[in-house]
């Protein structure tokens, strides 16, 4: 039995179906991310777990008990709010102690727990400050300490890092993961930032238009997206529409108008329709000046496309290229800058051969 089981949960606001029959199991001690574009229903789902919204249908089982109708203050679940929702009239200490006092914890124990929480989020010496005397990063820590103080069975985090700048966000991501591992607590985070979800979470649930479209590890989500939409939403991708014209020996031949005939490895589960899309991630496209020698791809089948470099973007760690194919379509490729001196760089206008193996392609139904 998982710690948290969401069973066919649905919620509508008027005619708008915010969450549409979502079922999901979350194990104890897991770091789970709900990922999706804004308006996909992820926040509504999180608010139903916290108790601020009541599902129209379905059950939410926490440790085997249905909590779908239980009021927020009676749930062993705490939430960290996107804007932190710190009480402006209370000091850092009183903010953290707020939930403990409501739980009727003895004074001495509250003092110990608050000190422990303050140390956990490294805010020693700030206990007497009011929220408006803290920086954004410090407020985020107070909010975290306050939501952890009651030792909830599940901690819900609503876009916890959205208000921080990039550098601080990256270091905080690491701290959150470290904290979650150390406490062994179950974290459910809502985010629209796929990099954030991939960095932190063990498993990611992708939502679109109220539905949960895929639940997978970050690697599987990226390398084996379930649908065309997910392939485009998570990371960058080249997409060529076409028709399967031949199959056999684990290979499909897809005829595309933009990239000609492509040989791709069959995926599991196999596509059932004839009309498909071939997706290839830019970092899996390789560029060379001449056609690759046949053994360069090992035993794999290689797809090669001729083109002209149309655009070069140097980003430091990687360089991204746009290659204009003979059909007029654009193929994006990115290459790691592994050498300091640009022996491998291509220039705009240069003729190149773009190639990728059959295994690196994804076949997705349209």
């Amino acid at each position: 039995m998982p710690l948290l089981r969401i069973e066919g949960v649905a919620k509508s606001f008027g005619n708008f179906r915010a969450v549409d029959k979502v079922s999901l199991d979350i194990r104890a001690g897991e770091f789970f991310a709900l990922l999706g574009p804004s308006g996909c229903g992820k926040t509504t789902l999180l608010r139903m777990l916290a108790g601020f919204e009541t599902p129209d249908e379905g059950r939410i089982l926490l440790g085997g008990n249905d909590i779908a109708q239980v009021l927020p203050h009676e749930r062993p679940v705490n939430m960290m709010f996107q804007n932190y929702a710190l009480f402006p009239h209370l000091s850092v200490r009183d903010n953290i102690a707020f939930g403990l006092r409501r739980a009727g914890m003895p004074r001495a124990e509250i003092a110990t727990r608050v000190a422990e929480m303050v140390a956990l989020v490294k805010l020693e010496g700030m206990e007497k400050r009011k929220p408006d005397q803290l920086s954004g990063g410090q407020r985020q820590r107070v909010a975290l300490a306050r939501s952890l103080a009651r030792r909830p069975q599940v901690l819900l985090l609503d876009e916890p890092l959205a208000a921080l700048d990039k550098k601080l966000r990256e270091s905080t991501q690491g701290e959150l993961m470290e904290l979650q591992r150390r406490l062994g607590m179950t974290f459910i985070i809502v985010t629209h930032d796929q990099e954030e979800a991939m960095t932190m979470a063990g498993r990611i649930g992708v939502m679109d238009a109220g539905r949960l479209v895929q639940v997978a590890t970050p690697r599987n989500l990226y390398e084996a997206p379930a649908t065309r939409w997910i392939a485009g939403f998570v990371g960058d991708v080249n997409m060529f529409d076409g028709q399967v014209i031949a199959s056999g020996q684990g290979r499909l031949t897809v005829s595309t108008s933009e990239a000609g005939s492509l040989t791709v490895s069959e995926m599991w589960p196999p596509v059932t329709k004839n009309v498909v899309s071939v997706a290839i991630r830019p970092e899996k496209v390789r560029l060379s000046r001449r056609a690759p020698a046949l053994d360069e791809g090992g035993a794999q089948t290689i797809n090669r496309l001729d083109g002209v470099v149309a655009d070069v973007n140097y980003l430091g760690g990687v360089t991204t290229y746009k290659v204009r194919l003979e059909s007029g379509a654009t193929l994006r490729a990115s290459m790691a800058n592994t050498a300091r001196l640009d022996v491998d760089a291509y220039l705009a206008g240069q003729r190149v051969v773009a190639w990728f193996t059959a295994d690196d392609c994804l076949v997705l139904e349209q």
Partner: protein, 271 residues
């Protein structure tokens, strides 16, 4: 380098002085003449506290002042209670039926001419054959000032982040406790400001009070008004100076209250 707008130039200082004089010269003259020894209002006869002494021995005037202060205190308190409840209803009960109608009716005294409010209240009290006096004026002033309290408190409530109450509930408060422990302390400055606004409005009102009061229970403004019709006595200047002092104290307290609310990192209650 451009000169900052707030730099001290002769032009700026002159226009500031003229502006302040336009606003406050009449009041300064009134205060100075309240210390006039002469019996004639417009003739200066040297400094004296004679008219303050006269006022404190004028039984009828003192009764009227006491009447005004108690009407203001009681009606402001009632208006603050009701107005705050109405503000909570409007700011938090987004979904109830007839909300637009309720808010329209609540705010109508803001735009309703006072003569009409006063007359309609008079008709009501006559129809109920209620004895006119302290309570009728108090009730009338409560209906007048309640909407001002609602405006002040509601704007504060809607500026307040809803997720603060949710956070309180998340941390173990039922909805009532969440309101008492988080929302109420945060809107307290607005409630205090609303009370003071209601108090000064009531203290100041002539029109509605003259419709709804009865014989022997005149408020201070009514009493002053009837005295002035017989010619301005310097005693009136003394009374007005005392009222100005009282209102100045209230304004200072109110601005402290809104400072306090600023210090809590939230926008100040509008006054």
């Amino acid at each position: 380098m451009a000169r900052p707008v707030n730099s001290i130039t002769r032009f700026n200082m002159t226009s500031l002085a003229l502006g302040l004089a336009f606003l406050y010269l009449p009041i300064v003259i009134l205060v100075i003449y309240s210390f006039n020894a002469s019996r004639l209002v417009t003739v200066w006869g040297g400094w004296s506290l004679r008219w303050y002494h006269e006022f404190f021995n004028d039984r009828a005037m003192l009764d009227a002042a006491w009447m005004s202060l108690s009407v203001a205190a009681v009606s402001a308190t009632l208006a603050t209670l009701l107005g705050t409840l109405a503000a909570i209803g409007l700011a938090r009960g987004e979904r109830f039926r007839g909300r637009a109608l309720f808010s329209g009716m609540l705010y109508s005294p803001l735009v309703m001419p006072e003569v009409i409010s006063g007359l309609s209240l008079l008709l009501l009290f006559v129809a109920l054959s209620a004895e006119r006096g302290f309570w009728t004026v108090t009730i009338a002033h409560t209906t007048l000032t309640m909407c001002f309290v609602t405006v002040v408190v509601q704007s504060r409530l809607s500026a307040l982040d809803r997720s603060l109450e949710e956070a309180a509930m998340d941390l173990g408060c039922d909805p009532v406790r969440a309101f008492l422990m988080v929302t109420l302390p945060l809107i307290a400055p607005a409630i205090i400001a609303g009370w003071m606004l209601a108090f000064t409005l009531s203290l100041d009102d002539v029109v509605i009070a003259s419709f709804t009061t009865g014989p022997g229970s005149a408020t201070l403004p009514i009493r002053i008004y009837s005295e002035v019709r017989l010619g301005v006595k310097p005693e009136i200047n003394a009374i007005c100076t005392l009222v100005i002092a009282l209102i100045a104290v209230i304004i200072v307290v109110a601005s402290f209250a809104s400072k306090l609310s600023n210090a809590r990192g939230e926008s100040a209650a509008p006054l």
